[in-house]
């Protein structure tokens, strides 16, 4: 095999037809600063294929009305499409029942729902909540608010230099005051994939429920909540080629039923008098008020789109991108990759010697390349790595090896400007 063939092979190990997929995403045809857009900020928000855009337009032009209320034609259509979207999401994460799938505004609201609905009811003074160093602020701050209110305590699982959770330390944190575990499936700052199935089994053996923050995992891997055996699983539509303002909380039915409502209002009740209100059954108990109906239906279309490509094919292509990008970036002198976990999703956090991440972000933008710079809402990770911020390229299945090359060339340009 010639050297040339070898490079070809490392650049594209799978027969994934990325060009055909890219044709579905109108935004990828944009030019930024007269350069073709290279969108590598997918961990923050991914882009929407025409199929989802069309679904939103169709809903809005032919199907819109409020749901669960009217007996008229449009209300029935909208209700049935909304509930069909719930079933699509149920299948997407292999939940046992559709009533275990609650529409929220996103991961953040899903976690807050669990904090209010479960935490405030079942966690008290002196109780302990286990979180990890890798958590996004969305899975830290709600629990701090609860701990402050109740006099509970937060214990934190440390990481090693590669960005992997220290599982021995996790296990040592358990005691008879441990009441809850919150862990991210995939780190948004470093890409580490955590061994959540084993962590859940360990917690369950001690009777402790586990919430998984799946915001960064759901877009990139097949999620099976029954196989994981998690109690709660939260993720966001906008990172999954869906609309903003919609997300999912999966919860085990028995747990959801035991919880108190999060928000009060219409739709979450069976009957209201000024003496007593009877709450609706799940999932409606947690969906007070008019939900983002079109966004939910759009998310349903997004998971259809992803499932048609196949989450395994998506994961394989993204792993190819990550491996190629990691190899290329590591060959540049003066560039350091942060997050070298053995199991990683397609997130590449890096530092360039002598150049602040914000300068990197601005200069890459000049080349049409969108990366995220900053602390990624994960300041505990940054503190652990002793950096104020990093630059982060995060890949989606519609990214190409050529875009990796553009990133690498962009980083070299930045270095040239700063020498």
């Amino acid at each position: 095999m010639s050297a040339n063939q070898t490079t070809q092979k490392t650049r594209s190990a799978s027969a994934f037809d990325v060009e055909r997929i890219r044709a579905d995403f109108p935004i990828l045809k944009l030019k930024v600063n007269d350069k073709p857009l290279v969108y590598l900020d997918n961990a923050a928000s991914s882009q929407m294929p025409q199929q989802v855009i069309d679904r939103l337009v169709y809903y809005q032009t032919k199907q819109h009305a409020n749901i669960h209320r009217g007996v008229h034609y449009l209300s029935e259509v909208a209700t049935s499409e909304f509930e069909e979207a719930r079933r699509k999401l149920q299948r997407f994460i292999n939940a046992n029942e559709d009533r275990e799938v609650i529409f929220t505004s996103g991961t953040t609201e899903a976690i807050n729902l669990v904090m209010h609905g479960y935490g405030r009811k079942f966690i008290g003074a002196g109780d302990e909540i286990i979180l990890t160093t890798l958590e996004h602020h969305a899975n830290i701050v709600p629990w701090q608010m609860l701990a402050e209110e109740k006099g509970a305590k937060i214990r934190v699982v440390p990481i090693n230099d590669a960005g992997e959770l220290l599982i021995d330390e996790y296990e040592k944190l358990f005691n008879d005051r441990t009441k809850f575990v919150g862990v991210t499936h995939v780190s948004n700052a470093l890409g580490s994939i955590n061994p959540i199935k084993e962590m859940i089994a360990f917690a369950h053996a001690r009777g402790v429920p586990v919430l998984v923050d799946g915001a960064q995992a759901a877009p990139h891997t097949k999620v099976d909540v029954q196989d994981l055996n998690c109690d709660f699983y939260a993720f966001s539509g906008h990172k999954l080629c869906g609309p903003t303002g919609i997300g999912i909380l999966y919860g085990r039915a028995a747990l959801l039923e035991s919880m108190q409502p999060f928000k009060g209002g219409g739709d979450m009740i069976l009957s209201v008098t000024f003496e007593k209100t009877t709450y609706n059954t799940i999932p409606h108990k947690f969906e007070a008020g008019t939900p983002p109906i079109s966004a939910a239906i759009g998310l349903g279309a997004a998971v259809d789109y992803l499932s048609a490509i196949g989450m395994d094919a998506i994961a394989a292509h993204e792993l190819d991108l990550l491996k190629y990008a990691t190899g290329q970036i590591s060959s540049i002198a003066g560039v350091r990759v942060m997050g070298t976990a053995e199991h990683k999703a397609a997130v590449l956090s890096f530092a360039v010697d002598g150049v602040h991440p914000h300068d990197i972000g601005t200069l890459l933008n000049q080349e049409g390349i969108a990366v995220r710079t900053g602390h990624h809402c994960a300041q505990p990770v940054m503190q652990r790595l002793h950096v104020p911020a990093t630059s982060r390229a995060s890949f989606a299945f519609y990214n190409t090896m050529d875009e990796v090359d553009a990133l690498i060339a962009g980083i070299r340009t930045v270095q040239k400007i700063f020498t």
Partner: protein, 161 residues
């Protein structure tokens, strides 16, 4: 669209690499720390004002090139000036960087006009104005200032996630 490269001009890169008046001063008459909590950047500014004149000034901190160059050029611009002159310059710089005034309408701005381009980069404005906020804080005995303070003209968070 802004020409981003124009922001990273020779003079800015040079001040970033070789910042002037970098360090601290023992017994300053004025001192403040400035933070940009969104990126973790922070700088300190020490000033010695004697009979209304800035006899000495120094800064130190961790920051991006825009912030460091802005701080370095701020120190060279205000050293030897009266406090009133420096305060006028602070106001002009803030107005120019936030796009309220064009640099042509800032009579004292001089070489600092190289920062005019940041007004097109909302996420970078804070980097350029942090040193000036901090100097202002030092003059007004505000020991710690933040680009997220309520009076901040660019009170808009950098993106999330």
């Amino acid at each position: 669209m802004a020409d981003y490269k124009s922001l990273y001009q020779e003079v800015i890169l040079d001040h970033n690499k070789k910042p002037r008046n970098y360090g601290t001063i023992e017994n300053p008459s004025h001192h403040a720390v400035g933070h940009n909590p969104l990126c973790g950047d922070h700088i300190t500014v020490d000033v010695v004002v004697d009979e209304g004149r800035i006899n000495n000034i120094a800064f130190q901190g961790e920051s991006c090139a825009i912030c460091k160059a802005s701080a370095s050029m701020m120190t060279t611009s205000v050293k030897g000036k009266t406090r009133e002159e420096a305060e006028t310059l602070i106001q002009e710089f803030l107005a120019m960087a936030t796009g309220k005034l064009s640099h042509e309408n800032c009579p004292h701005i001089g070489r600092l006009a190289v920062f005019a381009g940041v007004s097109d980069l909302p996420t970078r404005v804070k980097c350029a104005i942090l040193p000036w906020h901090t100097l202002n804080g030092a003059f007004n005995a505000v020991a710690s200032t933040s680009t997220e303070a309520e009076e901040d003209p660019m009170h808009a968070p950098i993106g999330d996630a």
